[in-house]
Symmetry: C2
Subunit: 215 residues, 2 copies
DNA sequence: CGAGAAGTTGAAGCGTGTCAAATGCAGTGG
DNA sequence: CCACTGCATTTGACACGCTTCAACTTCTCG
């Protein structure tokens, strides 16, 4: 286990901004956060979500400066480890080292799936696919079960993830609701017909490579 | 330097298919290739290009099976290294090891930019951005100069990369041509006004992290 | 209770997809 | 050398998914 300072941050604030020079490694202990990129005119694209157990900035320190930003969604707890200490730890533990390779490879595989999502699927399929991915990941870490999960994302978040306007996200969610594929009560999201949803989204969880994984 | 078998492959064939189990590491020596993913109904998304000097499947061996495919565009030469041998080599060379970390991080950074591209830019901006990226990468390895490059991609390739129909790619290229932003003569692509093109695409090469890099 | 944020809805317009047909281009065989 | 074939490119007409704008409603929380 890696030790380091633990920080608690409020919801909806930037954790790191584009252009800063990273010097620590962060591990999500609780809550939801995301990574985003921005165009000069303000258009925003979310390029990844962090759930408990995820690593935020693995070895990003080798790069000179951040080409993206990190922000919290809910209140979050982060473990922060200085790079020097981090280097020292992985040097002594081959298990940890390969765990970090894993993390990197899964990040890449997920980004490839997101490219497929953004480039080829319709708005309906994209959102359905994202919901499948999030549920699957949460279930894996024991934070969701029985086709139910806490859902802290706004429709604007969904839009910025799926490259769709907020208004259209709303219409898509309505359609999913009318088809009885999702059910949203407050912040609790449930899937009355997960099979049909996965089918609609052409969701194949293999890209998440859930088989094994180190810690 | 890593030694291994060198293979020459003809243009337009699959190198590895989804589902196969990877057991070698491939390095591009010459030519162009790409990585793609596919939906069950056949929609295809290109998720990365390989140019000379690029690594195709870094440590993918840890994963059970490929979640995507590789295909050649031009005739290509590949250096192939068995995983065992590869492991042995990086174990002895910290320089190489960090070079591979680099490669991984740049792959990730590029995929994030692609997500931004697919999610937020218009078809015109997307294609302009892709052209800027390819030229920049080719220039880096000395395979392009003076705002000119060999361009082996078809309009269908461009479409499958940018999430745009082939017909619309054609219209976009026409617009770029009429605006005097690109000039295509046979397989030679040139940029009479690179500044304006980069501006149109909001192309900021920092994500490619060209600063340093090992080999 | 009030105020700001998030969600909802309708109408109109635009970017892009689809379909279909024509043109250009390169390789092949007669 | 030319006709033939198949693939890439080009163009027009039309359809549709999604965006934009604007107003309204519903939540959330101090």
């Amino acid at each position: 286990m890696i030790h380091g300072r633990v920080r608690t941050l409020p919801p909806r604030i930037d954790i790191v901004r584009e252009g800063e020079t990273p010097h620590i490694m962060r591990l999500m202990l609780s809550g939801w956060a995301y990574r985003y990129k921005q165009l000069p005119d303000g258009r925003r694209q979310i390029v990844g979500f962090f759930l408990p157990g995820d690593i935020c900035d693995l070895h990003l320190s080798i790069l000179e400066s951040m080409d993206h930003s990190l922000a919290s969604i809910t209140q979050i707890e982060l473990a922060e480890v200085e790079n020097d200490m981090f280097e020292a730890v992985i040097a002594t533990s081959p298990t940890l080292k390969s765990a970090f390779w894993w993390d990197n490879l899964i990040t890449i595989a997920t980004l490839r799936e997101w490219a497929l999502n953004l480039g080829q699927r319709t708005a309906l399929e994209r959102i359905a696919h994202l919901l499948c991915e999030l549920y699957t990941r949460l279930e894996k870490i024991g934070a969701a079960a029985n086709q139910q999960m806490e859902f802290p994302l706004t429709q604007m978040d969904l839009g910025e993830t799926c490259g769709v306007s907020t208004v259209h996200v709303n219409r898509v969610l309505k359609e999913l609701r009318l088809d009885n594929l999702i059910c949203l009560e407050g912040r609790l999201l449930s899937f009355p017909a997960m099979d049909r949803l996965k089918d609609l989204a052409a969701f194949d969880p293999r890209y998440l490579h859930l088989g094994s994984r180190g810690r």
